[in-house]
Protein backbone atom coordinates (compact mmCIF):
# COMPACT_ATOMS: atom_id res chain seq x y z
CA UNK A 1 0.00 0.00 0.00
CA UNK A 2 1.36 3.39 -1.03
CA UNK A 3 0.22 5.19 2.08
CA UNK A 4 1.77 2.71 4.49
CA UNK A 5 5.04 2.73 2.58
CA UNK A 6 5.02 6.54 2.49
CA UNK A 7 4.39 6.85 6.21
CA UNK A 8 7.04 4.27 7.02
CA UNK A 9 9.55 5.97 4.78
CA UNK A 10 8.83 9.35 6.34
CA UNK A 11 9.07 8.15 9.92
CA UNK A 12 12.10 5.90 9.53
CA UNK A 13 14.29 8.33 7.57
CA UNK A 14 16.83 9.46 10.19
CA UNK A 15 17.33 12.90 8.62
CA UNK A 16 13.64 13.68 9.21
CA UNK A 17 14.15 13.43 12.96
CA UNK A 18 17.06 15.81 13.39
CA UNK A 19 17.76 19.42 12.52
CA UNK A 20 15.85 22.61 13.24
CA UNK A 21 12.86 21.43 11.16
CA UNK A 22 13.08 17.84 12.36
CA UNK A 23 10.47 15.77 14.14
CA UNK A 24 12.29 15.99 17.48
CA UNK A 25 12.27 19.80 17.54
CA UNK A 26 8.71 20.04 16.26
CA UNK A 27 7.43 17.54 18.80
CA UNK A 28 9.19 19.49 21.55
CA UNK A 29 7.65 22.73 20.27
CA UNK A 30 4.27 21.08 20.20
CA UNK A 31 4.68 19.80 23.72
CA UNK A 32 5.76 23.23 24.95
CA UNK A 33 2.95 25.19 23.30
CA UNK A 34 0.38 22.62 24.42
CA UNK A 35 1.65 22.61 28.00
CA UNK A 36 1.70 26.40 28.25
CA UNK A 37 -1.74 26.83 26.66
CA UNK A 38 -3.15 24.18 28.97
CA UNK A 39 -1.59 25.74 32.03
CA UNK A 40 -2.88 29.19 31.13
CA UNK A 41 -6.37 27.82 30.50
CA UNK A 42 -6.33 26.00 33.85
CA UNK A 43 -5.16 29.07 35.76
CA UNK A 44 -8.19 30.93 34.44
CA UNK A 45 -10.76 28.14 34.41
CA UNK A 46 -10.19 26.47 37.76
CA UNK A 47 -10.86 29.47 40.05
CA UNK A 48 -13.74 30.67 37.89
CA UNK A 49 -15.32 27.22 37.79
CA UNK A 50 -14.93 26.66 41.53
CA UNK A 51 -16.29 30.08 42.44
CA UNK A 52 -19.26 29.91 40.08
CA UNK A 53 -20.26 26.40 41.08
CA UNK A 54 -19.82 27.21 44.78
CA UNK A 55 -22.23 30.11 44.49
CA UNK A 56 -24.39 28.27 41.96
CA UNK A 57 -24.57 31.36 39.79
CA UNK A 58 -24.32 31.76 36.02
CA UNK A 59 -24.75 28.04 35.31
CA UNK A 60 -26.63 28.89 32.13
CA UNK A 61 -23.77 31.08 30.95
CA UNK A 62 -21.22 28.31 31.64
CA UNK A 63 -23.27 25.86 29.52
CA UNK A 64 -23.82 28.42 26.78
CA UNK A 65 -20.14 29.35 26.49
CA UNK A 66 -19.23 25.65 26.42
CA UNK A 67 -21.53 25.22 23.44
CA UNK A 68 -20.31 28.33 21.68
CA UNK A 69 -16.72 27.10 21.99
CA UNK A 70 -17.83 23.93 20.19
CA UNK A 71 -19.29 25.98 17.36
CA UNK A 72 -16.17 28.10 16.77
CA UNK A 73 -14.44 26.98 13.56
CA UNK A 74 -10.88 26.56 14.78
CA UNK A 75 -9.25 26.69 11.35
CA UNK A 76 -10.85 29.99 10.42
CA UNK A 77 -9.99 31.60 13.73
CA UNK A 78 -6.30 30.63 13.63
CA UNK A 79 -6.04 31.82 10.03
CA UNK A 80 -7.47 35.20 11.06
CA UNK A 81 -5.25 35.47 14.14
CA UNK A 82 -2.25 34.51 12.01
CA UNK A 83 -3.07 37.25 9.52
CA UNK A 84 -3.47 40.06 12.03
CA UNK A 85 -0.66 39.19 14.45
CA UNK A 86 2.97 38.12 14.56
CA UNK A 87 4.78 35.47 16.53
CA UNK A 88 3.51 32.31 18.21
CA UNK A 89 1.93 33.77 21.36
CA UNK A 90 -1.31 35.21 19.94
CA UNK A 91 -2.01 31.79 18.38
CA UNK A 92 -1.16 29.91 21.58
CA UNK A 93 -3.38 32.35 23.48
CA UNK A 94 -6.27 31.73 21.09
CA UNK A 95 -6.01 27.95 21.48
CA UNK A 96 -5.79 28.38 25.24
CA UNK A 97 -8.82 30.67 25.34
CA UNK A 98 -10.90 28.18 23.37
CA UNK A 99 -10.16 25.50 25.98
CA UNK A 100 -11.35 27.61 28.92
CA UNK A 101 -15.14 27.12 28.58
CA UNK A 102 -14.98 23.32 28.56
CA UNK A 103 -12.62 23.32 31.56
CA UNK A 104 -14.94 25.65 33.48
CA UNK A 105 -17.85 23.35 32.60
CA UNK A 106 -15.88 20.27 33.74
CA UNK A 107 -15.09 21.95 37.08
CA UNK A 108 -18.70 23.02 37.41
CA UNK A 109 -19.90 19.44 36.78
CA UNK A 110 -17.34 18.10 39.22
CA UNK A 111 -18.47 20.34 42.05
CA UNK A 112 -22.12 19.73 41.15
CA UNK A 113 -21.45 16.02 41.62
CA UNK A 114 -20.29 16.72 45.15
CA UNK A 115 -22.85 15.48 47.64
CA UNK A 116 -24.35 18.65 49.20
CA UNK A 117 -23.94 17.03 52.62
CA UNK A 118 -20.18 17.33 52.10
CA UNK A 119 -20.47 21.12 51.86
CA UNK A 120 -22.90 21.21 54.79
CA UNK A 121 -20.65 19.00 56.89
CA UNK A 122 -17.69 21.25 56.09
CA UNK A 123 -19.70 24.23 57.29
CA UNK A 124 -20.71 22.27 60.35
CA UNK A 125 -17.05 21.75 61.12
CA UNK A 126 -16.69 25.50 61.20
CA UNK A 127 -15.21 26.09 57.76
CA UNK A 128 -15.82 29.40 56.03
CA UNK A 129 -16.61 30.03 52.35
CA UNK A 130 -13.09 29.78 50.99
CA UNK A 131 -12.21 26.82 53.19
CA UNK A 132 -15.33 24.97 52.05
CA UNK A 133 -14.26 25.43 48.43
CA UNK A 134 -10.60 24.58 48.85
CA UNK A 135 -10.78 21.87 51.51
CA UNK A 136 -14.07 20.12 50.80
CA UNK A 137 -15.47 20.86 47.34
CA UNK A 138 -12.20 20.94 45.38
CA UNK A 139 -10.79 17.62 46.63
CA UNK A 140 -14.04 15.80 45.90
CA UNK A 141 -14.26 17.43 42.46
CA UNK A 142 -10.67 16.55 41.54
CA UNK A 143 -11.50 13.37 39.56
CA UNK A 144 -13.99 15.22 37.37
CA UNK A 145 -11.60 18.14 36.93
CA UNK A 146 -8.83 15.73 35.90
CA UNK A 147 -11.17 14.09 33.38
CA UNK A 148 -11.78 17.58 32.04
CA UNK A 149 -8.03 18.21 31.86
CA UNK A 150 -7.50 14.96 29.94
CA UNK A 151 -10.12 16.06 27.44
CA UNK A 152 -8.51 19.49 27.28
CA UNK A 153 -5.12 17.91 26.50
CA UNK A 154 -6.57 16.46 23.30
CA UNK A 155 -8.42 19.66 22.50
CA UNK A 156 -5.43 21.96 23.03
CA UNK A 157 -2.91 19.68 21.31
CA UNK A 158 -5.20 19.45 18.27
CA UNK A 159 -5.71 23.20 18.40
CA UNK A 160 -1.96 23.77 18.41
CA UNK A 161 -1.68 21.47 15.36
CA UNK A 162 -4.37 23.31 13.42
CA UNK A 163 -2.76 26.61 14.47
CA UNK A 164 0.07 25.70 12.11
CA UNK A 165 -2.18 27.23 9.45
CA UNK A 166 -1.79 30.52 11.29
CA UNK A 167 1.99 30.10 11.25
CA UNK A 168 2.63 28.27 14.54
CA UNK A 169 5.37 25.64 14.68
CA UNK A 170 4.94 22.16 16.06
CA UNK A 171 3.67 18.95 14.51
CA UNK A 172 0.92 20.79 12.62
CA UNK A 173 3.63 21.95 10.23
CA UNK A 174 3.48 18.47 8.69
CA UNK A 175 -0.21 19.02 7.98
CA UNK A 176 0.49 22.28 6.17
CA UNK A 177 3.47 20.76 4.38
CA UNK A 178 1.61 17.63 3.33
CA UNK A 179 -1.82 19.00 2.52
CA UNK A 180 -0.91 22.39 1.07
CA UNK A 181 -3.39 25.25 0.89
CA UNK A 182 -4.75 24.85 -2.64
CA UNK A 183 -6.46 21.99 -4.40
CA UNK A 184 -6.61 18.30 -3.60
CA UNK A 185 -3.54 17.00 -1.77
CA UNK A 186 -1.79 14.10 -3.47
CA UNK A 187 -0.39 10.76 -2.30
CA UNK A 188 3.08 11.69 -1.01
CA UNK A 189 1.70 14.80 0.73
CA UNK A 190 -1.03 12.79 2.38
CA UNK A 191 1.58 10.35 3.69
CA UNK A 192 3.41 13.25 5.38
CA UNK A 193 0.15 14.53 6.88
CA UNK A 194 -0.82 11.08 8.16
CA UNK A 195 2.66 10.73 9.72
CA UNK A 196 2.24 14.08 11.46
CA UNK A 197 -1.16 13.08 12.81
CA UNK A 198 0.22 9.75 14.03
CA UNK A 199 2.90 11.60 15.96
CA UNK A 200 0.23 13.95 17.32
CA UNK A 201 -1.91 11.08 18.57
CA UNK A 202 1.12 9.51 20.28
CA UNK A 203 1.89 12.85 21.91
CA UNK A 204 -1.69 13.34 23.10
CA UNK A 205 -1.98 9.83 24.53
CA UNK A 206 1.38 10.27 26.28
CA UNK A 207 0.30 13.54 27.88
CA UNK A 208 -3.03 12.03 28.91
CA UNK A 209 -1.27 9.11 30.56
CA UNK A 210 0.78 11.65 32.50
CA UNK A 211 -2.38 13.41 33.72
CA UNK A 212 -3.90 10.02 34.54
CA UNK A 213 -0.83 9.05 36.56
CA UNK A 214 -1.08 12.39 38.36
CA UNK A 215 -4.68 11.53 39.21
CA UNK A 216 -3.67 8.13 40.57
CA UNK A 217 -1.39 9.77 43.06
CA UNK A 218 -3.70 12.61 44.10
CA UNK A 219 -7.19 11.12 44.16
CA UNK A 220 -8.00 9.20 47.35
CA UNK A 221 -8.66 5.54 46.59
CA UNK A 222 -12.14 5.48 48.11
CA UNK A 223 -13.18 8.43 46.01
CA UNK A 224 -11.92 6.78 42.83
CA UNK A 225 -13.82 3.59 43.66
CA UNK A 226 -17.00 5.51 44.45
CA UNK A 227 -16.84 7.29 41.10
CA UNK A 228 -16.61 4.01 39.27
CA UNK A 229 -19.80 2.99 41.06
CA UNK A 230 -17.99 0.27 42.97
CA UNK A 231 -18.55 -0.60 46.58
CA UNK A 232 -16.32 1.08 49.08
CA UNK A 233 -14.55 -1.48 51.24
CA UNK A 234 -16.18 -1.70 54.63
CA UNK A 235 -14.14 -0.24 57.42
CA UNK A 236 -13.69 -3.66 58.99
CA UNK A 237 -12.44 -5.05 55.67
CA UNK A 238 -10.12 -2.12 55.13
CA UNK A 239 -8.59 -2.76 58.54
CA UNK A 240 -8.21 -6.45 57.77
CA UNK A 241 -10.62 -7.51 60.52
CA UNK A 242 -13.13 -9.21 58.23
CA UNK A 243 -12.68 -11.59 55.29
Amino acid sequence: MDLLAGVQEFLTEPSHWTGSEGIAIRAAEHLGYTGLALLAALVVALPVGLLLSHTGRLGGLVRWLDQVSVAVPLLGVVVLVGLVSDGPWPLVGTVSLLAVPSLVAATWDGVLEVDPTVSHAARGLGMRGRQVILRAELPVAVPAVLAGVRAAVAQVATGVAVAAYGGLGGLGAYLVEGLGVSGRPTGPGLAIAVSGLLLLVVLVVGMQLLVWALGRTTVPRDLALARQGRELPKRSQALGLAP
Binding site: P73, L80, A154, V162, L175, L179, L190, L197, V204
Partner: protein, 213 residues
Protein backbone atom coordinates in the same frame (compact mmCIF):
# COMPACT_ATOMS: atom_id res chain seq x y z
CA UNK B 1 -15.02 44.17 2.08
CA UNK B 2 -18.38 44.87 0.50
CA UNK B 3 -16.95 44.54 -2.99
CA UNK B 4 -15.68 41.06 -2.27
CA UNK B 5 -18.98 40.01 -0.67
CA UNK B 6 -21.05 41.33 -3.57
CA UNK B 7 -18.91 39.81 -6.29
CA UNK B 8 -18.77 36.45 -4.51
CA UNK B 9 -22.31 36.27 -3.11
CA UNK B 10 -23.46 33.47 -5.41
CA UNK B 11 -20.44 31.36 -4.64
CA UNK B 12 -20.84 31.94 -0.89
CA UNK B 13 -24.47 30.82 -0.98
CA UNK B 14 -23.38 27.69 -2.84
CA UNK B 15 -20.63 26.97 -0.30
CA UNK B 16 -23.12 27.44 2.53
CA UNK B 17 -25.48 24.89 0.95
CA UNK B 18 -22.75 22.30 0.49
CA UNK B 19 -21.48 23.03 3.98
CA UNK B 20 -24.85 22.35 5.58
CA UNK B 21 -25.37 19.17 3.56
CA UNK B 22 -21.93 17.85 4.50
CA UNK B 23 -22.57 18.69 8.16
CA UNK B 24 -26.12 17.43 8.55
CA UNK B 25 -25.94 14.08 6.73
CA UNK B 26 -23.39 12.80 9.32
CA UNK B 27 -25.67 14.00 12.13
CA UNK B 28 -28.58 12.10 10.60
CA UNK B 29 -26.46 8.97 10.32
CA UNK B 30 -25.27 9.47 13.89
CA UNK B 31 -28.88 9.53 15.12
CA UNK B 32 -29.65 6.32 13.25
CA UNK B 33 -26.60 4.62 14.76
CA UNK B 34 -26.47 6.06 18.26
CA UNK B 35 -30.07 5.46 19.36
CA UNK B 36 -30.05 1.66 18.88
CA UNK B 37 -26.42 1.49 20.00
CA UNK B 38 -27.13 3.54 23.11
CA UNK B 39 -30.14 1.39 23.99
CA UNK B 40 -28.06 -1.76 23.59
CA UNK B 41 -25.17 -0.38 25.66
CA UNK B 42 -27.28 1.13 28.43
CA UNK B 43 -28.13 -2.31 29.78
CA UNK B 44 -24.50 -3.17 30.35
CA UNK B 45 -22.70 -2.36 33.55
CA UNK B 46 -19.72 -0.94 31.73
CA UNK B 47 -20.20 0.64 28.36
CA UNK B 48 -16.43 0.63 28.10
CA UNK B 49 -14.59 3.12 25.97
CA UNK B 50 -17.82 4.58 24.63
CA UNK B 51 -18.46 6.16 27.99
CA UNK B 52 -15.15 8.00 27.79
CA UNK B 53 -15.59 9.49 24.34
CA UNK B 54 -14.01 12.72 25.48
CA UNK B 55 -10.68 10.92 25.75
CA UNK B 56 -9.49 12.12 22.37
CA UNK B 57 -12.03 14.90 22.04
CA UNK B 58 -13.97 15.10 18.81
CA UNK B 59 -11.72 17.39 16.74
CA UNK B 60 -8.70 15.09 16.65
CA UNK B 61 -10.64 11.98 15.52
CA UNK B 62 -12.43 14.03 12.87
CA UNK B 63 -9.20 15.54 11.55
CA UNK B 64 -7.31 12.24 11.66
CA UNK B 65 -10.13 10.35 9.93
CA UNK B 66 -10.48 13.03 7.26
CA UNK B 67 -6.82 12.85 6.33
CA UNK B 68 -6.49 9.08 6.75
CA UNK B 69 -9.62 8.15 4.78
CA UNK B 70 -8.77 10.66 2.12
CA UNK B 71 -5.34 9.05 1.77
CA UNK B 72 -6.81 5.54 1.57
CA UNK B 73 -9.73 6.40 -0.73
CA UNK B 74 -7.91 8.49 -3.30
CA UNK B 75 -10.82 9.05 -5.64
CA UNK B 76 -12.19 12.56 -6.36
CA UNK B 77 -15.73 11.19 -6.82
CA UNK B 78 -15.74 9.89 -3.25
CA UNK B 79 -14.43 13.06 -1.57
CA UNK B 80 -17.84 13.98 -0.16
CA UNK B 81 -18.41 10.43 1.08
CA UNK B 82 -15.06 10.58 2.89
CA UNK B 83 -16.10 13.79 4.66
CA UNK B 84 -19.47 12.31 5.64
CA UNK B 85 -17.92 9.14 7.06
CA UNK B 86 -15.17 11.04 8.89
CA UNK B 87 -17.72 13.31 10.57
CA UNK B 88 -20.23 10.58 11.36
CA UNK B 89 -17.80 9.01 13.81
CA UNK B 90 -17.38 11.98 16.21
CA UNK B 91 -21.09 12.83 15.93
CA UNK B 92 -21.96 9.24 16.87
CA UNK B 93 -19.61 9.36 19.86
CA UNK B 94 -21.07 12.65 21.07
CA UNK B 95 -24.61 11.33 20.79
CA UNK B 96 -24.24 7.77 22.07
CA UNK B 97 -22.97 9.03 25.40
CA UNK B 98 -26.09 11.15 25.87
CA UNK B 99 -28.40 8.30 24.80
CA UNK B 100 -26.77 5.93 27.30
CA UNK B 101 -26.91 8.56 30.07
CA UNK B 102 -30.55 9.34 29.32
CA UNK B 103 -31.68 5.71 29.29
CA UNK B 104 -29.71 4.96 32.47
CA UNK B 105 -31.46 7.81 34.24
CA UNK B 106 -34.83 6.14 33.71
CA UNK B 107 -35.90 5.22 37.25
CA UNK B 108 -35.81 1.51 38.04
CA UNK B 109 -39.42 1.71 39.28
CA UNK B 110 -40.58 2.91 35.88
CA UNK B 111 -38.74 0.02 34.22
CA UNK B 112 -40.28 -2.46 36.63
CA UNK B 113 -43.67 -0.87 36.03
CA UNK B 114 -43.31 -1.45 32.30
CA UNK B 115 -42.31 -5.04 33.00
CA UNK B 116 -45.37 -5.47 35.22
CA UNK B 117 -47.62 -4.17 32.47
CA UNK B 118 -46.34 -6.90 30.21
CA UNK B 119 -44.13 -4.73 28.00
CA UNK B 120 -41.57 -6.68 26.03
CA UNK B 121 -38.05 -5.48 25.44
CA UNK B 122 -38.78 -3.60 22.24
CA UNK B 123 -41.92 -1.91 23.52
CA UNK B 124 -40.15 -0.94 26.73
CA UNK B 125 -37.36 0.64 24.70
CA UNK B 126 -39.67 2.51 22.34
CA UNK B 127 -42.57 3.51 24.57
CA UNK B 128 -40.92 3.97 27.97
CA UNK B 129 -37.17 4.49 27.84
CA UNK B 130 -36.78 6.58 24.69
CA UNK B 131 -39.47 9.14 25.62
CA UNK B 132 -38.01 9.56 29.10
CA UNK B 133 -34.49 9.82 27.69
CA UNK B 134 -35.60 12.28 25.00
CA UNK B 135 -34.33 15.47 26.70
CA UNK B 136 -30.87 13.96 27.09
CA UNK B 137 -30.92 12.63 23.51
CA UNK B 138 -31.89 16.03 22.17
CA UNK B 139 -29.10 17.65 24.18
CA UNK B 140 -26.68 15.23 22.49
CA UNK B 141 -28.22 15.98 19.12
CA UNK B 142 -27.65 19.69 19.65
CA UNK B 143 -23.98 19.26 20.54
CA UNK B 144 -23.46 16.87 17.63
CA UNK B 145 -25.12 19.24 15.17
CA UNK B 146 -23.19 22.30 16.29
CA UNK B 147 -19.90 20.37 16.39
CA UNK B 148 -20.50 18.90 12.96
CA UNK B 149 -21.16 22.29 11.37
CA UNK B 150 -17.92 23.59 12.83
CA UNK B 151 -15.92 20.47 11.90
CA UNK B 152 -16.88 20.52 8.21
CA UNK B 153 -14.55 23.52 7.83
CA UNK B 154 -11.64 21.08 8.32
CA UNK B 155 -12.71 19.23 5.16
CA UNK B 156 -11.18 22.06 3.16
CA UNK B 157 -7.76 20.87 4.30
CA UNK B 158 -8.11 17.68 2.27
CA UNK B 159 -9.58 19.45 -0.73
CA UNK B 160 -13.19 19.20 0.41
CA UNK B 161 -15.95 21.72 -0.16
CA UNK B 162 -17.82 24.04 2.18
CA UNK B 163 -17.11 27.30 4.02
CA UNK B 164 -13.64 26.06 5.04
CA UNK B 165 -12.41 26.78 1.52
CA UNK B 166 -12.79 30.48 2.37
CA UNK B 167 -10.19 30.09 5.14
CA UNK B 168 -7.63 28.67 2.72
CA UNK B 169 -8.49 31.43 0.25
CA UNK B 170 -7.57 33.96 2.94
CA UNK B 171 -4.28 32.15 3.51
CA UNK B 172 -3.40 32.12 -0.19
CA UNK B 173 -4.32 35.72 -0.91
CA UNK B 174 -3.25 37.15 2.47
CA UNK B 175 -6.60 38.94 2.95
CA UNK B 176 -8.88 38.54 5.92
CA UNK B 177 -12.34 39.14 4.43
CA UNK B 178 -13.01 35.58 3.17
CA UNK B 179 -11.95 33.97 6.46
CA UNK B 180 -13.97 36.50 8.46
CA UNK B 181 -17.01 35.76 6.30
CA UNK B 182 -16.45 32.02 6.72
CA UNK B 183 -16.16 32.21 10.52
CA UNK B 184 -19.24 34.44 10.78
CA UNK B 185 -21.35 32.23 8.52
CA UNK B 186 -20.27 29.05 10.33
CA UNK B 187 -21.29 30.57 13.66
CA UNK B 188 -24.61 31.76 12.22
CA UNK B 189 -25.29 28.33 10.72
CA UNK B 190 -24.46 26.66 14.05
CA UNK B 191 -26.73 29.07 15.92
CA UNK B 192 -29.62 28.52 13.52
CA UNK B 193 -29.20 24.74 13.61
CA UNK B 194 -29.15 24.85 17.40
CA UNK B 195 -32.37 26.86 17.42
CA UNK B 196 -33.89 24.45 14.93
CA UNK B 197 -33.10 21.40 17.11
CA UNK B 198 -34.49 23.23 20.14
CA UNK B 199 -37.66 23.88 18.15
CA UNK B 200 -37.87 20.22 17.16
CA UNK B 201 -37.47 19.24 20.80
CA UNK B 202 -40.19 21.66 21.83
CA UNK B 203 -42.54 19.96 19.37
CA UNK B 204 -41.44 16.37 19.99
CA UNK B 205 -41.09 16.47 23.77
CA UNK B 206 -44.01 18.66 24.86
CA UNK B 207 -43.89 17.45 28.48
CA UNK B 208 -40.43 18.88 29.00
CA UNK B 209 -41.10 22.42 27.75
CA UNK B 210 -39.32 25.07 29.70
CA UNK B 211 -36.98 22.66 31.49
CA UNK B 212 -33.27 23.19 30.99
CA UNK B 213 -31.73 19.96 29.73
Amino acid sequence: MNDWLVSNSDRIVGLMGTHLALALVPVLLAVLISVPLGLALSGRVSAGPLMQPKALGYVLPALALLVFLRAVVDDPRLDNAVVVVALTVPATFLMTRRVVAGVRDVPADVRRGALGMGYGRLRRHLRVELPLAAPSIFAGLRVATVASISLVTLAALVGGDGLGTLFLESLRDDVHVPALTGVALTLVAAGLADAFVRGAEWLAVPWNRGAEA
